[in-house]
């Protein structure tokens, strides 16, 4: 066992209440995980000993994000949402910020096949997940069938909600390739459109479904 580990084990034996991870390691984050890994090898049988295997509190971390089948390495603060990291740190501005409270749908992305609000997800918790944004829909210059349908049927006006609408549409069609009108409405319920393009959004999604 290395020096770091020894020190920590001693602290553990003290039983003076809380385990204190070294301040330097705590602040750096990266170092702390090394400490945690060492400590985790100690068998845990009861709550006090479980304390020994506590994860460290992170204020920031360098994480790996899988977005549109590409791996990105990005330094994030723990309070940054996936939405702001995509837009500000990764130049993927196709996903929009409209309310930032999970109340409108403009920031809808797909995570492991489900439609989620990127504004309500912490980036730091997104490692190991497959994230799909609007930028990942097209295949080079070729539009995705959903994008083609929205273009043909005019399912967009100002375009700000459109990325989110198409992601929810894709989440629907991936699971239910022949949706009814009611299915489409239900799947897009969490995507508000202030311009009121709903009739043509519905037409676009049903058209994409019929052509698949």
């Amino acid at each position: 066992m290395d020096e770091k580990g020894k020190k920590s084990k001693e602290r553990n034996k003290k039983k003076d209440g809380d385990l204190k991870v070294s301040r330097r390691a705590f602040l750096k984050g990266m170092g702390a995980s090394t400490v945690a890994a060492t400590l985790a090898s100690i068998p845990v049988t009861s709550v006090p000993e479980a304390e020994a295997s506590l994860p460290n509190g992170l204020k920031e971390a360098v994480i790996q994000l899988n977005v549109n089948e590409k791996l990105y390495r990005v330094k994030v603060k723990s309070h940054w949402t996936l939405l702001e990291v995509l837009r500000r740190e990764m130049d993927l501005t196709g996903t929009k910020k409209a309310c930032d409270r999970g109340n409108c749908g403009a920031c809808t992305v797909m995570v492991d096949g489900r439609a989620l609000y990127a504004c309500s997800l912490l980036a730091i918790g997104m490692e190991g997940k497959k994230i799909l944004t609007v930028e990942g829909l097209r295949d080079g210059e070729k539009l995705h069938p959903i994008q083609k349908a929205f273009s043909e049927h005019g399912g967009y006006q100002c375009g700000f909600c459109t990325s989110g609408q198409m992601m929810s549409a894709k989440a629907l069609l991936d699971k239910n390739p022949k949706p009814t009108l009611s299915d489409v409405r239900g799947a897009l319920a969490g995507n508000l459109c202030r311009c009121g393009a709903y009739p043509k959004i519905i037409e676009s999604v049903l058209s994409a479904a019929s052509k698949a």
Binding site: Q147, S151, G159
Partner: protein
């Protein structure tokens, strides 16, 4: 005018479809510049208070804070207010807060969190003053003065005396009075207000979500002491406008000032909460209406008193704007109107889709329905009898309407919903869920021709076309419609036209897409530019073909030589022209005529009397658009406007707590805009009256559909359950309260 069009009237995909749909379109909120500072406003927590002292020492000391700006620092520039006394100016930053949310100071920091933290470290000492939240209260004498000159602004245009109201009432067989109220709401554009400004020592570059880039440019130059050509405004993609983003606001001047002072780019993006406070609002109104009619259904008199609650700051004469509706929709010889613009300590009134008309359409169309009932007439027949015809026109300017398609809208809409067969007496079906039909008419001057109007067309050597248009595409497909005009007039395929908008360096001022003027006004300029280009093409062709200009004709993208059986494509002439061909166009508003658009909506509702829940089963929206240039774009405006109008009538209201003056629902969960589950698939009916002045006969359609659903639905609910509404939004609470009252 049954002309065969090649491009106009067809369904096309947008010129900018690709970048919008693949997520590459950069909206102003998508702009992130190196070294950028984030600006945040500190907003008053009091509805009426003097700023006594600002202590920003702790914020100043916070690492990452680069500037803290108060009223004392910024240019003396009037953001809003009046040109003549009383000027009631809105300064760049407030020293007296007049509503909860009023901007007191601004902080610029290296990131948003630091800016937010800085705000928390600033202490402002206020002298709290009494406040007023109700316009009729504020209009009384001896109440708190929100401005030293008082709380009422009444312009000469806010009163009207047409004919003689007393005589008119004496001629009436039936007189009906009513009091109606509408409330405050907001555009809730999905992209909030956002400004990015950068100063390089010589020029100021502004990225903004804005539909009036040239106005912004001029105002910013004046505010910051620059020449107009030192300012460049970029507004390519706009995430919704609906009237909120057309003027120069505090955010612009403050950011410009900070950018020049710190020599760093700055960004100010409103949070959603701020976007409900520090922006423009549809103003609350209180109407006192008294209408008189003869027993054969002829309207004799309209008498109205209107309070327009304009909130904390003065933008324009809103009372006049709302009064245009009772003045103009129906033919009436005696009309007396009194309107008041009244200040209250609430977020300020501004333009929102169709401005003051929806607030007037709801009460008038309900009042007309009630009058029809009192007369024993079918409400549709009553309206058809009284609407102002072409020859009636503007009854005060005494000029005719250019084109009128209202009757066709009404008949087609009535057919579609089955009005004749299905409109029965109120509450006629059994069971707890009652169905009903309702109708409402629209007639207003949104969709008109108004300067400034300009366009530039460049013809490239290969025959492709570049259109430089200062008209922004705020979601109404304006960019595409202009391309269609150019293509049609030039006789080239739609795909051959490329459009540049959103850059004041590369386009000319043609006004913004407000007042639904874009299609008609800018269309004329684009056609004029195309014609100018064609004339130059003819000249070049005459030179090259060694013919006289009169011997040549341009048709369908080719130059024909009279008498000879051959034609020459543009590119042949263009590739050999010594200098590029640049077409220039402008336009003028027609004189001595009134341009109105018209519409009729028919709503079918189902009302569950157990729960007060209303389902809108169908909404048929018929509109006279002159000529539908861009079919998908046109349908989108009718459907979208109607859907937004359903929100206006049924869901949306900003509630202000009367104890504190604080808005309790500045967010998207408690301010309820319609979701896809709340609306029917609107059935648009396009009526084409072929306006003689509009480009290819077109008028406009962006705003007209907005104000019609609310009264159509209110009238349908009456038809279903026999309760009348004098207030919107009509929601579960108002339905249950009135059903209860009716039962009691």
């Amino acid at each position: 005018m049954a002309k065969e069009f090649k491009v106009v009237g067809k369904k096309v995909e947008r010129v900018d479809a690709f970048e919008r749909l693949v997520g590459e379109a950069k909206f102003a909120s998508d702009i992130f510049l190196p070294g950028m500072l984030y600006v945040k406003f500190l907003r008053s927590p009091h509805p009426h208070a003097k700023v006594v002292r600002i202590d920003a020492a702790r914020a100043q000391a916070l690492p990452g804070v680069k500037a803290i700006i108060t009223a004392a620092d910024v240019p003396k520039y009037q953001i809003h207010g009046r040109a003549t006394a009383p000027s009631v100016p809105m300064p760049v930053l407030a020293t007296t807060a007049r509503y909860v949310g009023d901007e007191i100071l601004a902080v610029a920091a290296v990131d948003e969190e630091t800016a937010e933290q800085a705000l928390e470290l600033i202490t402002v000492e206020y002298e709290v003053l009494p406040f007023l939240l109700d316009a009729e209260e504020a209009a009384k004498p001896d109440v708190v003065k929100i401005y030293p000159e008082g709380n009422i602004v009444q312009e000469p245009t806010d009163t009207l005396n047409r004919g003689n109201a007393e005589e008119g009432f004496s001629q009436a067989d039936v007189i009906l009075e009513g009091k109606y109220k509408t409330h405050m709401l907001q555009h809730a554009t999905l992209e909030p207000r956002v400004t990015v400004i950068s100063w390089n020592g010589k020029r100021l570059t502004i990225w903004d979500s804005h539909k009036g880039p040239f106005r912004l440019r001029t105002d910013m130059a004046r505010a910051l002491g620059l020449r107009i050509n030192q300012v460049r405004v970029l507004t390519s993609f706009i995430g919704g406008d609906f009237g909120d983003k057309g003027q120069t606001e505090r955010q612009h001047v403050v950011c410009g000032f900070i950018a020049m002072k710190t020599k760093r780019p700055v960004k100010l993006e409103f949070t959603r909460e701020e976007n409900f406070l520090g922006t423009h609002h549809r103003y609350p109104t209180t109407w006192y209406m008294k209408y008189g009619a003869k027993k054969d259904g002829t309207l004799t008199t309209i008498h109205i008193k209107l309070y327009a609650d304009i909130g904390a700051y003065y933008h324009q004469d809103f009372a006049y704007n709302s009064l245009e509706v009772p003045k103009g929709v129906y033919r009436c010889p005696n009309v007396r109107l009194e309107g008041y613009n009244v200040f209250t300590n609430k977020p300020e009134a501004g333009q929102m889709r169709c401005v003051g008309h929806p607030a007037a359409m709801f009460p008038q169309e309900v009042h007309m329905d009630r009058l029809a009932e009192k007369l024993g007439m079918d409400p549709l027949a009553f309206r058809l009898k009284n609407y102002a015809r072409k020859e009636d026109g503007d009854q005060d300017r005494k000029v005719p309407f250019a084109s009128v398609g209202l009757e066709e809208c009404a008949r087609k809409g009535a057919d579609r919903i089955g009005w004749e067969a299905r409109w029965k007496k109120p509450g006629s079906n059994p069971g707890p869920v009652k169905r009903g039909l309702g109708v409402a008419f629209q007639s207003c001057r949104h969709g008109l021709i108004m300067p400034p109007m300009s366009a530039i067309i460049k013809l490239d050597p290969d025959g492709s076309v570049e259109l430089m248009s200062g008209l922004n595409d705020s979601g109404g497909w304006q960019k595409t419609t202009m391309a269609m005009f150019a293509a049609e007039e030039l006789g080239v395929p739609y795909e051959a036209v490329q459009v540049t908008t959103g850059d004041t360096d590369a386009t000319t001022d043609t006004g913004g897409p407000g007042a639904s003027r874009g299609t008609a006004s800018v269309g004329l300029a684009v056609i004029a530019a195309a014609r100018d280009a064609k004339l130059q093409l003819l000249d070049a062709a005459a030179d090259q073909l060694k013919k006289k200009r009169e011997e040549l004709e341009i048709r369908d993208g080719q130059i024909f030589i009279n008498g000879e059986n051959k034609s020459v494509p543009y590119r042949e002439i263009l590739s050999r022209a010594p200098s590029p061909i640049i077409g220039r166009g402008s336009g003028k508003a027609p004189q001595n005529v009134a341009m109105h658009t018209f519409g009729a909506h028919f709503a079918e509702v189902a009302v569950d009397t157990r729960t007060g829940k209303v389902e809108i089963l169908r909404l048929v929206a018929a509109h006279d658009v002159g000529k539908a240039i861009n079919r998908l774009g046109c349908e989108n405006q009718i459907e979208g406007g109607a859907i937004m109008g359903i929100g206006y009538g049924m869901l949306e209201r900003q509630y202000i707590d009367s104890q504190t003056g604080i808005c309790v629902n500045p967010n998207m969960i408690d301010f309820k805009i319609p979701s896809i589950l709340d609306v029917p698939i609107v059935e648009p009916i396009i009526v084409e009256s072929d306006d003689p002045y509009g480009p290819f006969g077109a008028k406009g359609v962006g705003e007209p559909p907005y104000g019609v659903p609310a009264p159509a639905i209110a009238n349908a609910i009456y038809n279903a359950v026999g309760v009348r509404f004098d207030e919107i939004p009509i929601n579960i609470r108002s339905i249950i309260d009135r059903l209860d009252k009716g039962r009691a």
